[in-house]
């Protein structure tokens, strides 16, 4: 591990972290712009050209707001909870490959992978972090000492555990085909054919479970405002609130990046056509942006599910279907090889 290695790694961490923060900031704008268009409005367009400086203004506003810690909360855990959420959401990017190894136009002596760390348990790492993220929400709900927060926290715990199972099971099919848990290997395997064509059922389950896992509509019951005020972050204000907000958008980005990596060939170009002269990083970003738009599109199109419907769907439909998918994949692999 030379000085250069450290420099490059630190640079990668900085650039990717910065990029994710930027995407999260502009997702908040995109959310309002898209919702505006879908509801035949303009959305924010006063701050800067086309409202492009709106996230900056929002950030400043949130930072200068008074940070209220209510008297009746459990202070230690109340402060800890947003930190857990944020760390779990942002640390996931470390294993997602955003491009093939490159030497930056001859700038570096040898090619470096465009990924912070190519660990051989990449997918399990992301699942481990997302299961830690549940604690942020549950502990926030409990420590707020407020019945709406508590209910939101409980709902989110039940929902995330249930759908984590379907999510995990749905990608087993991909793992069986790529013979590896390393995301780099999974992407390299898809140079000829994206896994979405081989794993259509797995992908549909993955996508739907992803909505539940990120607490997005139609499954945003932990913060269903007509019933629960704002759910687990009712008592939070200022930057602590915005940490939860940011981790929700960061989680959306993680899951979009995972969908692209596992099912849509990651940084690879179109199957059969190659990259069409477009740099691989742009392919990756383009596909992720599509999925992020899809998240917004669904949110402003579908109504919210009822809680019992959500749980029934998770346990009685998606879990058996994902197990069936594993069985079918196994059969296919045995018959074809």
């Amino acid at each position: 591990m030379s000085v250069l290695w450290w420099l490059v790694t630190l640079l990668k961490v900085g650039v990717i972290f910065g990029a994710v923060l930027g995407i999260v900031a502009y997702m908040t704008l995109a959310e309002r712009k898209v919702s505006g268009r879908i509801q035949l409005r303009f959305g924010p367009n006063r701050v800067g050209p086309f409202g492009l400086l709106q996230p900056l203004a929002d950030g400043l506003k949130l930072m200068f707001k008074e940070d209220v810690i209510p008297d009746h909360v459990d202070k230690v855990i109340y402060v800890l909870a947003p930190a857990i959420s944020t760390i779990a959401a942002f640390a996931s990017y470390a294993v997602i490959p955003i491009g093939p190894p490159t030497d930056f136009f001859g700038l570096l002596p040898e090619p470096v992978p465009l990924q912070i760390a190519d660990v051989n348990i990449g997918i399990l790492y992301i699942f481990a972090l997302s299961s830690m993220g549940v604690y942020g929400i549950v502990l926030a709900g409990w420590s707020s000492n407020n019945k709406y927060s508590l209910l939101g926290g409980l709902r989110s715990a039940a929902q995330m555990i249930s759908y984590e199972l379907s999510l995990g099971m749905s990608i087993v099919g991909v793992l069986m085909m790529s013979h590896s848990l390393s995301l780099t290997r999974v992407v390299e395997d898809q140079s000829n054919l994206w896994y979405v064509f081989l794993q259509p059922l797995g992908f549909v389950i993955f996508l739907i479970a992803a909505f539940a896992e990120t607490n997005r509509l139609p499954f945003d019951l932990p913060e269903a405002e007509p019933e629960l005020v704002a759910g687990y972050h009712t008592e939070y204000s200022s930057m602590k609130f915005s940490l939860f907000f940011m981790s929700e958008y960061a989680a959306m980005f993680t899951i979009s990046a995972m969908a692209v990596t596992l099912y849509f060939g990651g940084w690879q170009g179109l199957p059969g056509l190659g990259s069409l002269g477009i740099p691989p990083v742009l392919w990756f970003v383009g596909k992720v942006v599509f999925f992020l738009f899809f998240f917004l599109w669904v949110r402003w199109t579908l109504p919210r599910f009822r809680y019992d419907q959500l749980m029934n769907l998770g346990w009685k439909v998606f879990l058996p279907l994902s197990l069936l998918n594993i069985l079918l994949t196994g059969l296919g692999l045995v018959l074809l090889e």
């Binding site: 051989n120 481990a128 299961s131 502990l139 409980l154 984590e164």
Partner: protein
Amino acid sequence: MPAVLFYILSAVMLAAALLVVLQTHPVYSVVFAIISFVSLAGLFLILGAEFIAAAQIIVYTGAIMVLFLFVIMLLNLRREDIEERGVSLMKTAGSIGTLVLLGLLGGVLAGKISLGPQGPFSQEVIRQAGNTQAVGRALFTDFLFPFEATSVLIFVALVGVVILAKKKL
């Protein structure tokens, strides 16, 4: 470097484990248990057992402790409830645990308990085969019967719980 990490992680793990018992508030106990489990996962990582580390976090931290927390939150347990109920039970259980611990420590100090023979999986072998692959191969070849028997056992427990909880199905 690994040696320093080992001491830091072990210290955190032991301190957190101790605090799990010393805390009177159940939610804090759960939080310290989580810290202890995460440190344990770190120790597995130092040994090159990435799969076990990830499984440790996903299964123990991600699933089991969330359920603990879930139950504690659902019952809204407070300090007083625990002090009223089952203190004598806790004392009995605690003294049995202490006796076992002292016995083990005495055994180690007297040299009666030593390490078993080294198996085929040295760190080099695992590093070459990949930890996930090594664990998978061992589970589905040498330990197939215990592995499947465990799954049947867990299934039986699951059915038992459903029957106990829902007498009228």
